[in-house]
Subunit: 95 residues, 4 copies
């Protein structure tokens, strides 16, 4: 099982994830897209990734806005799996 | 523009929407599905409907859980458009 | 790697998949839904499954029609992975 | 109802749609993406657009490949609606 990241490991990881922040022990990011279509297809991209990795984000959105929150439920906090997923999701924006 | 429903109209409409409730002036429903796939494809169904009707729900979810909240932004509350959308969404569950 | 099913194994498997047929060494099924929304969300369900299993169907569709074709590319034909996927997809229709 | 484009109108329109071609009286384009996720979310973008415009492409794909074909069924061929949709879809690639 993935282990909980220590504070040092977490701070290191966050340096490479400039638009993500910690909130209530979750790794969070908000997005604003041009319209609903852009926002929802971005969420679909994340959904397909979730099934591939068997790791599922909390999502919420309305129209062109979307927020994602990541944590590893079994581990009770943030693990390497969340960092990896956040990195992949951020990569989608550069495509 | 769709007009805000009166309290009487709203109470009448809610009789035909047994699993929806009012919360902070929004029409809300929570769903629990068997897994992420079921939950997310149900959301996709709602997303396609949203684009067709040009009326977009607030959504939030994690794994097999999903919550939807409806209001008509221009009107500042619940209108006939929300009732119609809630009715269609409930219909998806009976298919 | 999954092995190619023998003709006997394939015929046995097809008994439990009444709406699927063989065509050019692929396991095929056509679907007609009530509208585009139903057809596309069914395809989305299949897409999420594909990423989970790392096994991807060929799909084609227009409006309320959808066709799926399954084969295992590495094996050059139909394997147990295709039978399993077809069974899961058929199960979606009974939900 | 949208009228069928004349040969001249069609040739003019195709000048602005460099990657689309005519095939059997349909406006067609093939896409190759980096993986299934990219291909399927692009198709989802097109699906949401379809419901918004009430105009639906024929689609087919496997893994990272996708093909779209457009025509206006009522008109029996290519109309302004197809040109407009092809233009929007091409625009998605530049985002």
């Amino acid at each position: 099982m993935a282990h909980l990241l220590t504070t040092d490991e977490l701070n290191d990881a966050l340096k490479d994830l400039p638009n993500w922040h910690l909130e209530q022990n979750e790794l969070c990011r908000s997005f604003v897209f041009s319209d609903f279509n852009e926002a929802f297809t971005f969420l679909t991209k994340t959904a397909l990734l979730s099934e591939k990795l068997n790791h599922h984000a909390h999502y919420s959105g309305v129209y062109n806005q979307l927020a994602l929150r990541l944590r590893t439920h079994d581990a009770g906090g943030i693990t390497e799996k969340d960092i990896k997923m956040a990195t992949t999701i951020s990569g989608y924006l550069k495509a």
